[in-house]
Amino acid sequence: MLTALLVMAGIAVVLGAALGYASIRFKVEGDPLVDKIDAILPQTQCGQCGYPGCKPYAQAIANGEADINQCPPGGEEGIRHLADLLGREFKPLSEEHGIEKPKSVAFIDEQTCIGCTLCIQACPVDAIVGAAKQMHTVVEPLCTGCELCLAPCPVDCITMEPVVETVETWKWKYPVIEIRQTA
């Protein structure tokens, strides 16, 4: 009886020590979950989710403060990926945060622009160049289509232009399976 107890206690001590050591030795730096969530988010940095950027939203999801369906640019596919990652149920995009739109980039009508730099300050990814009293222009490949520059513009000279398909971005479609009803 005593031997059994001692053996069990010994095992408990050894395993406990091993686990304790492992938790120190293999400690993961940072929160990998936040990075994983952040990797799924589209990095539009538009703030439509209610957080100042994608990383804060990722943080909020990881902390359970935000739901997974608050990101309109990520769309349904993004929600699906988040649901997969977090093992949650898929849910449709929450309407209060916006609707899924085709990918667009901002375009500044240079005839109207007064060079106020407000859009430059609003742009989360520094995709607008220009100086005070100088024409501004959007560097198209850098624009995430967040629309944050639209509101500050005092002369409403910024419009969102849908991204057009070129031979370089064109995609082969999923093969359509024709089930021919021969019966």
Partner: protein, 569 residues
């Protein structure tokens, strides 16, 4: 001498259908009323347009400058007037448009001054530049720039000239080798010299005995400096695939993602060799190619066609039969159905096939995959196509890549043999373009993340810098204040902590006022009258644009600040 040939795995034997178009000699195609020369000859790179609407150009005059690493020049295929520069449907399965130069021929077909390139008097670098500026690209279909393939000129043992032409129906290389064997051999000799090869192997499928004969004769006549062998290889699709032909002739297998140069062997198409011959010996840039017109047609044949000739202009030459329902560009194994017949011939277009439901019947209904492995036995890339099919179909792209999706050369052998009639290649194309799109998206997302984080960091840094500056200034003012007050009123400084602050604010205010006053006129000071007039004009335009909706031509306006991270003023 009986040479040892090697085998590649798989392959299929589709009906060759070569005899329809191979019998008649190459004829020149008549000049169309308008030529549409795409500046983008392949999806890889677009040339930069260097002509203007209304400009008169001569045949062979450069109209597009090579741009980017994989760029090559584009030339006017005949003399005439540039009537438009704009988007035009491209020879691409998407049917999307690309910028093109529209030329109305003047009927004179007048060449620019042509000067042959003297390789002996020049070096390799200028030779490669010459080929790039002559617009020489691979003419087997991929239109890969030849000067890139010619590379460093070091370590290439063997030059392979690809005359296999394994796709059914196509005979343009066959006719070229039969009729212009000497030119092809000369081109091959030039390529061999530039690339530094020690032997040349010319591979031709054994279903083209006349071409083999003609080329052997040409080699005998040319007495080339290095050993050149014309080798008949067994007819087995896709023996004309670059890597497959290299394997058959030399036994070397070039893995996916590697270039032949790393293995001491490089491969060029016969058409490319011919174009190199014309470019070097005569100074002629690449402005025409041989195109096979065949299929469900009364008078199939091969034609010398100017680059930029709209395909609809060529169709009467072959006389498509009434039941023709579509036209294929390229061969039936790897080509695609044209969605628009105004698409122009580009440097990589080798064949137009009139297709009819009897010649190319629609595939029977797709049945489930039974994993019979027929596709794996036919695959020249030695893949497991049915596994790739399962993964592509279920959008499991990661797994598809693990099973070497990108080693697939889309030759179509798997779809050809599939007893369940599954369009396997369509699934691989879908999966590949989906993976590419995701890679683009994630690259863009990474970039956006970096830029966002940098911006936040910069704003933070600016804040602290500003604070530091203010603190420094405050200290300075305090010191100054202490000095002046030391003279005026020493008592106040000793016990009054309020007054220096007030003084600071007052000083700042005064400074700001002064600055404002100084800055405001600064921009309009010392301006020449023209500039002032310009400013007034801009103001007026701005007012107008704000007020009215009158459309205006877009002026070319530039910003003077477009580089670096710190764009904010």
């Amino acid at each position: 001498m009986i040479r040892k040939l090697f085998k590649f795995h798989g392959g299929v034997h589709p009906e060759p259908h070569k005899s329809e178009s191979a019998t008649a000699a190459i004829r020149p195609a008549p000049m169309p009323s308008e030529l549409v020369v795409p500046l983008r000859q392949s999806t890889r790179a677009a040339a930069r347009c260097i002509v203007e609407v209304g400009q008169h150009v001569l045949k062979g005059q450069r109209i597009g400058e090579a741009e980017g690493k994989l760029g090559t020049a584009v030339h006017a295929p005949t003399s005439g007037e540039v009537i438009a520069i704009g988007d035009h449907p491209m020879a691409h399965p998407s049917g999307l448009t690309a910028p093109a130069v529209h030329i109305r021929p003047d009927g004179l077909d007048q060449w620019i001054d042509l000067t042959p390139f003297d390789y002996d008097a020049n070096d390799r670098i200028s030779m490669l530049a010459n080929l790039r500026d002559a617009g020489i690209v691979g003419m087997g279909g991929a239109a890969f720039p030849s000067h890139i393939k010619l590379g460093t000129g070091i370590g290439i043992e063997t030059l392979v000239i690809n005359g296999a032409e394994c796709e059914p129906w196509i005979t343009c290389d066959d006719r070229l080798m039969r009729e212009r064997g000497n030119a092809v051999i000369d081109g091959a000799a030039i390529l061999a010299e530039v690339i530094g090869a020690r032997r040349v192997l010319i591979g031709i499928e054994d279903n083209k005995p006349e071409a083999v004969e003609s080329m052997r004769k040409a080699v005998a006549e040319a007495r080339p400096a290095l050993p050149m062998d014309v080798i008949a290889v067994p007819s087995l699709y896709p023996a004309g695939g670059e890597k497959q032909l290299i394997r058959v002739l030399t036994g070397i297998e070039i893995p996916h993602g590697k270039l032949g140069g790393e293995f001491g062997v490089q491969c060029f198409n016969t058409g490319t060799a011919h174009a190199v011959h014309r470019a070097v010996r005569f100074g002629e840039p690449l402005v025409s190619r041989i195109v096979t017109l065949t299929g469900n047609a009364d008078t199939p044949g091969n034609y010398e066609v100017l680059v930029g000739t709209p395909i609809q202009h060529l169709l009467p030459l072959m006389g498509p039969r009434p039941d023709t329902d579509r036209f294929l560009l390229g061969g039936p194994m790897m080509g695609f159905a044209l969605t628009d017949l105004s698409v122009p011939i580009v440097k990589g277009s080798n064949c137009i096939i009139a297709a009819s439901p009897t010649l190319f019947p629609p595939p029977p209904a797709e049945l489930p995959c039974i994993r019979c492995g027929e596709c794996a036995r036919a695959c020249p890339a030695e893949l497991q196509p049915f596994e790739l099919y399962w993964f592509s179909r279920s959008r499991n792209f990661g797994k598809a890549q693990e099973y070497h999706l990108f080693d697939c050369i889309e030759c179509g052998c798997c779809s050809y043999v599939c007893p369940s009639h599954i369009p396997l290649v369509d699934y691989y194309r879908f999966a590949k373009s989906e993976i590419w799109a995701r890679e683009r998206e994630s690259a863009a997302a990474d970039q956006a993340r970096d830029r966002f984080e940098f911006r936040n960091y910069r704003q933070e840094r600016e804040k602290t810098e500003k604070a530091a500056k203010l603190a420094a200034k405050a200290a300075e003012t305090k010191a100054k204040l202490a000095e002046t007050e030391g003279v005026d009123n020493k008592v106040q400084v000793a016990d009054g902590s309020e007054d220096p602050k007030k003084a600071l604010i007052a000083a700042a205010l005064a400074r700001a006022k002064q600055q404002k006053a100084a800055i405001k006129p600064a921009n309009t000071d010392n301006l020449p009258p023209e500039a002032e007039a310009e400013i007034a004009e801009i103001e007026a335009r701005r007012q107008k644009a704000l007020g009215g909706s009158e459309p205006k031509p877009l002026g070319v306006l530039t910003t003077d600040n477009n580089g670096g991270e710190d764009k904010q003023s």
